[in-house]
Structure formats: C-alpha cells, structure tokens
C-alpha cells in the first residue's frame, strides 16, 4: 500500500508500507514508477492526508498518557515520552519498554521503542539502531550514539549533506572533532543537537495535556424504578452539563450516558451530533426518545452524562431581561448554521445516519460510481474529496441497477429503433450516440458490469420520453440505465 500526494500534476509516493519498501518503492517516487517496481503485485493506493495523520498522532499521544505522565507527538511518526518516576511501576526500564511496545502493538502499530536519559539519544537509537527495543543506561549515551549515522542527530538535510561531503558519516566522527570548528562550518544547530543527545543541554517537549471530558452524574439513595424520575434527572443533568460546557466555551459532539442498574449490567446510550451544541432543548430532544425506551431492570442507581467528544463554540453574551439572566441568542434568532445542525441531528437520530446523507463527486467515469454518499456526520471531512466532473450529459434519474430491455436495431451496432422496457413498447424517433464507456480493467471489483464496455445511446420515443440505454459490447445485451425526467 502506498499513500500518494499530487505535486505538479504528478502523483508522488508520500508514504509506503514495509512490503512496498522492501520491493524498492521509495518516498518521492512517482506512482507510475512504483507500479513498475511492483509489477505483478496488487497495489493499494490511497491519498496522503497529513492533517489526518497529525490528528491521529495526537490521539495516539493522548492514548499513551496511560503509560507515562508526559507525552508529546513527534511528527510525522514518533512519540516522545517522559518516563521519569515510572520505573517503580514496572520494575525496570526494559520491562517498561516491553510493556509499551506490546500495548501499542495491540492497536495494530509496529513500534520501535528506545529508552534513554535524553530524548535525542532515545530518538536516535529507536530509529537507527538494529534492535526494535533498546534501553540505554545513564552515562552510556556517547557509546550508543557513536556508531549511528549523522542523520540520527535530527539535523536538516543540508547540514547532513555538507557533513557527508567532507566524509563525516557517523556521530562518532563528530565527537572527535573540535566543537569550535563545527560551529564555524556547520552552524550552532548541529552542536545543539549533539548536546541534546548527550545530555549537555536540556530539551523541553510540549506534551499533550490530559483533558478530562466534561461529565456530570447523579447517584440515587436507592434503586429508582420510576421512569418519570429518571427522565427528570437526565434533563437536570443535561442542564448541568450545558452549564459546564458554557464555561469551557465548548459544545458536545458525542454524548455518552451510562445508567448503572441494580444487579444488571450498566446500560449505555450514545448520542452523536453533527456539530457542537450545548443547547439543552436540542440535546433533550435527542435524549428523550432514547431515555423513554430504556430498560430499567430492578432499578437505576446512578446516571452519568459524559461529553466524550467536544468542539469549540463561540462565546455567548448573557443579558438580563425581566429580572432573569438569559442567553442573548434566543430560539427565534438562532444562527442558521446551528438550526441546520439541529435539523440533521434530529433526522439522523430518528432515521439513522445512513438515511441522511450528502453526496460528493468521485473520480470515476462509470456513471454509477461517479458520486459517493456520505453520512452527514462525516461531511466536514469528506468535502475535501471533490474532484473534477466531466461535462458529459447525464440523466436526472439513474436506475439503481440497469434494467434489461428488448431492442430492435436496424444495424447490429447501431442505435435502437424500437425497445420494450417495463412492459411498455417505445418507438424510437431520436437516438444520440454512441458514447462508449470503457471497463475498469485495473479494478479488483468482481462486479461483471464493471468489466464490460458499454455503448450508451440517448433515445427519445414518440411521446417525448428520453431514456439512456446501453449495449454491452461483448454480450450484445441491452439495458436501460436512466431517464431524463
């Protein structure tokens, strides 16, 4: 699998998997070159998404907070963890390294882990050492760094090229040179990186701070079996949570409600919103149908609401009217975007997210594959996939499946002069075409319709009905595929 980016109208390999790399694919190579290198091997190509990768790395850093108190993402593919004081929890550093590597391996990542007294040394050993899991004892930094290449010092490409030009290939070569001359020829940044790796200079990281999701809960004195009491409590908790979110200037995107029941497993209800919201009325309109139908078992002992995913919301002014404090944004003049967010939340909650969709163009010449439906919950991300659309004429109604038709044509490969579709006979008075749409020979899709060439005709019958019909070139069968209505 390779990830490609577009540069100067060329598809460039931005990342590649281990198998591709082993076969000779390199970053910066064109996709055509990579296909040629991997000839005979099925290759999966996906667009490179650096922003998505960065967000995923931050999420992984937050996950790693369970192993170390301070974790910082190190783009594009690293994590820096400060494990000071963690040794008593694991016994020794080697066990700490093994535990972390095993845990992250269970997430599906193959990680190279190194533990050292400096971030620079750990970074270098993790990436350039022969071993996947390494522990460098305090005071052994020089010894560990000496055989490593100079790229392990986190220096820029120009400096590395300049060093290689004068024959300095290993970090040990740098240690043998006078520092003053290094500064004069290669700049102070090289010395800074050397000192950070050896511990002569302190390196500060910018860790991810653990954020407790806003949460409210109510513990009852005893199990409650009255639905009305449960509903009033959930409503009150929703108001409390909205107050917390207002102080944080945030809105909830995903709301997790847990009902702890007596002698029965806890019941969990999940609400997902398309846009951040802290409007109690809206949240309650989504929660109420769910709460009304919960099974309370032998009684509910505790209710907890947690905003597991939140998003920023703009600040609201609070004004006083009629002796009561209220938000300046009343229901009547609510912003339209908020109103639309509430609309799609309500629709998706009742009908399901797959029944409330947006459509985005996809780069495909096959009419049935030229667009893709996305749930409204994914709209923000999917809008970036818009591609150029061809100026071809397409019908307003495209049938979900092409329907077989009976056709009479004057010439074997000519347009139809008569056809029968859905039991009705149509005498064709106008035919435009053919428009040939080729097969997708490169696709691994097993759908037979994708592997046949089609000759499309736009035909009009005597009553003025315009249909889109095609003939499969190999089998000679005719199908109706759409209508201009």
């Amino acid at each position: 699998m390779v990830l490609v980016k577009i540069a100067a109208a060329r598809q460039i390999v931005a990342r590649c998997c281990e198998r591709s790399a082993a076969a000779g694919v390199r970053e910066g190579m064109t996709l055509t070159h990579a296909r040629a290198v991997l000839v005979g091997t099925p290759l999966r190509v996906h667009p490179y998404d650096p922003l998505g990768d960065e967000a995923a790395l931050k999420a992984l850093a937050r996950w790693a907070l369970r192993c170390a108190p301070l974790v910082a993402p190190d783009p594009p593919d690293g994590l820096l963890m400060d494990v000071s004081g963690c040794r008593p929890l694991y016994g020794n550093e080697q066990r700490l390294v093994n535990t972390f590597a095993d845990r992250i391996g269970r997430l599906g990542f193959r990680a190279r882990v190194a533990c050292a007294s400096t971030f620079g040394c750990a970074w270098a050993v993790a990436r350039f050492s022969d071993q996947e899991r390494s522990v460098i004892a305090h005071g052994q930094e020089h010894q560990a760094l000496t055989p490593l290449p100079i790229e392990a010092l986190r220096i820029d490409e120009d400096t590395a090229a300049a060093l290689l030009e004068v024959g300095i290939e290993r970090i040990g070569h740098l240690f043998a040179l006078p520092r003053r001359e290094l500064v004069a020829r290669f700049g102070s940044h090289l010395l800074l990186r050397m000192d950070q790796a050896t511990g002569e200079t302190i390196e500060v990281i910018q860790p991810q701070h653990p954020v407790e999701p806003p949460s409210v809960q109510r513990v009852f004195d005893g199990p409650v079996t009255q639905l009305e009491a449960v509903m009033r409590t959930v409503r009150k908790l929703t108001e409390d949570l909205a107050g917390k979110l207002q102080r944080l200037e945030s809105g909830v995107r995903r709301l997790d409600i847990v009902f702890d029941r007596l002698n029965v497993a806890a019941l969990r209800v999940l609400i997902t919103l398309s846009r951040p919201s802290r409007d109690v009325k809206h949240l309650w309109s989504l929660l109420k149908p769910k709460v009304e139908t919960i099974h309370m078992g032998f009684g509910i002992e505790r209710i907890a609401l947690t905003a597991t995913v939140v998003g920023r919301l703009r600040h609201e002014q609070i004004e006083q009217a009629d002796g009561q404090w209220r938000s300046s944004e009343s229901d009547d003049d609510a912003p339209a975007d908020r109103a639309f967010g509430e609309l799609i939340d309500t629709l998706a909650q009742r009908l399901g997210p797959h029944r409330t969709v947006c459509v985005h163009p996809v780069e495909s010449h096959l009419p049935e594959r030229s667009f893709r439906q996305h749930s409204v919950m994914q709209t923000q991300r999917a809008q970036g996939d818009a591609k150029q659309i061809t100026a071809s004429d397409r019908p307003s109604i495209l049938l979900e499946r092409p329907e077989p038709i009976d056709v009479m044509a004057i010439t074997p490969e000519g347009p139809p002069s008569w056809l029968r579709w859905r039991g009705e006979e149509h005498r064709i008075v106008t035919a435009i075409g053919p428009e040939r749409i080729g097969n997708v020979w490169w696709s691994t899709d097993v759908s037979p319709t994708c592997h046949s060439q089609r000759d499309y005709f736009k035909v009009q019958d005597g009553a003025g009905r315009w249909l889109w019909v095609y003939r499969e070139r190999e089998a000679g069968r005719w199908f109706a595929h759409g209508e201009w209505a």
């Binding site: 009629d322 639309f340 629709l347 009908l351 969709v357 009009q460």
Partner: protein, 284 residues
C-alpha cells in the same frame, strides 16, 4: 388557517397594531406578511413562485390525449411514475441563488424517488458550479409517517431554503400540516406527486401538471399546466397563462421556455388551446 404570521420572543410583547394585523390575516385567510418569492426565470408563464407555501408538481405523463389521470395503469404501476426532477432541480437552484450568500442555505431532498442524479446538480456554465450539490441534503425516510415528519421538520428549519419532497399518498390533512410548516419556515416547498393523484384534495397553493412533449433537439421538453392557484397574492403568478412549454438547457443547468414550438396542434382536432412563442393559451 394561515398559520403563525409573526414570530415573537414573548407573548406579552404584542402591540395592538400587530394584533390587529393578525386578526385581519385570520379573517381574510391570507398571510399578513408578504412572502418572498423565487423567480423561475420563465418569461411568459409563472415568473415567480411564492415561498412559504406548497407547490405541487405532478409527475411526468405523456401528452394529454394519451393519458387518463383517473387511475394508475395496472397493479404494479404505483411505482412507475417519474417526478419532474429537472424542473424541480431548476427551481431549487433558483431558490438557492436568490438567498443572501452570507446566510446558511440548504436544499433538502426528501424521499429517494426525488433524489436526482448528482451530475444534474452540477453546472458547467463557467466551469463546474457545485453550489447546489454541496448545499444539498438527501433524506431517505423508511415509511410514509417518517417522510411526513421529515418534511415538516425540514420546512420549519430556518437554514433550509427549499424542500423537494416525494408527496405521493399525502392526504388533505397531511398537506395542511405541511402547509403550516412551510409558512413557519418561509422556505420553498416543492412536492412531487404521481399524476393519478391530481384529483385528490390538497392544501397546496399551486398545482402543476407536467406533460412530456416531443423535442426536435437533443434534450427533453415538457408542457406544464397550472391546474390550481389559490390566494390573492399568488394570482400574479398566473398571468392568464395556463400552459407553457419548457426545455432543458444542459449547458446552463437550467430549464427555460422553449424557443420554438413543434407539433402545433391541428385546429381541426378541437384542442382547447393554441400555441404561440413558447406559451400555450387557452382559447375555449
């Protein structure tokens, strides 16, 4: 019933003048607020369609002499009707383009039957114009109750500019509910209905029948007929023209009045209408 003519933050803030207007609106069965309208771009026929009211468009059929609108043909024909999607798409685009660009504006398509192929929502007049596609939300209700609920909900949303919905099998009471929702939201409500429901009662302000017309060009052509137009303010939409011939302009992604009319009816056939310059006028 006209619906709520004013939106007020608090019930106590109604002035006497507003109260008088509300009573007058209820007594004379008209909207006290002049509704904004959507230009259709069709000169010579309905030049504007009012927002905040229902406009029903009856699905495509053949020419009137070949069509019996009383009953669907056969048992399996309930699903075999085609909503006039190109006309509805044109009207939705007109509604979207006449709203202030600073506002959030969406078009909601309710019912899989009225989902047009997305390619139709993209214009190539001056490069690809995807505004309508990007601002479209497609809803697929599983049953008729959910469909009515979704139409009601979408029409009441202030961010929705136009709602295009499958209006088949809607009864009179349900169309009243939709009409009240449309009045509250002030969006353009377009309902597509099968041709055999033409005789059913409805609260729609205008009802249009769409007939296929033979075309000498490379695109479809229709004859639209204004079957019903209620209310005083909507009378301007009629302009004494009941029929018009429209055609699809693929390059501009619009439906326009036909430049030339073909197959003029023979006077000997005693047809009640005559054709001139794209508009068909009733003579008898």
């Amino acid at each position: 019933m006209v619906g709520t003519p004013f939106k007020m933050k608090r019930a106590g803030s109604v002035t006497r003048q507003q109260l008088a207007e509300m009573i007058e609106a209820i007594e004379f069965r008209r909207a006290s607020r002049p509704q904004a309208s959507v230009p259709t771009g069709w000169n010579g026929t309905a030049e504007t369609l009012a927002r905040g009211v229902i406009h029903e468009w009856f699905g495509l059929t053949e020419a009137p002499e070949h069509f019996n609108a009383a009953e669907p043909r056969g048992n399996g024909c309930a699903n075999q009707w085609s909503p006039p999607l190109l006309i509805l798409t044109h009207l939705a685009r007109q509604a979207l383009e006449t709203v202030e660009k600073t506002k959030e504006r969406w078009v909601v398509w309710i019912g899989r039957r009225v989902w047009p192929h997305p390619r139709v929502l993209v214009r190539d007049e001056h490069g690809p114009d995807r505004l309508l596609l990007q601002q479209s939300l497609f809803v697929d209700p599983p049953d008729e109750a959910s469909r009515l609920w979704a139409i009601d909900l979408a029409l009441r949303c202030s961010a929705v500019t136009a709602v295009v919905a499958d209006g088949s099998r809607l009864r009179m009471g349900e169309t009243r509910r939709v009409q009240l929702a449309a009045e509250q939201g002030c969006s353009l409500a377009l309902l597509a209905r099968p041709p055999w429901e033409l005789k059913q009662l409805s609260a729609a302000v205008t009802r249009w029948r769409v007939l296929r017309a033979p075309s000498p060009d490379s695109g479809p052509r229709w004859m639209i007929e204004l079957m019903c137009c209620k209310g005083v303010q909507q009378l301007a939409a009629r302009k004494a023209v009941s029929y018009s011939i429209l055609e699809w302009d693929r390059a501009k992604g619009r439906v326009r009045p036909s430049a030339q009319v073909v197959d003029q009816p023979d006077p000997a056939t005693a047809s009640p209408w005559q054709v001139s310059h794209g508009a068909v006028r009733r003579t008898g």
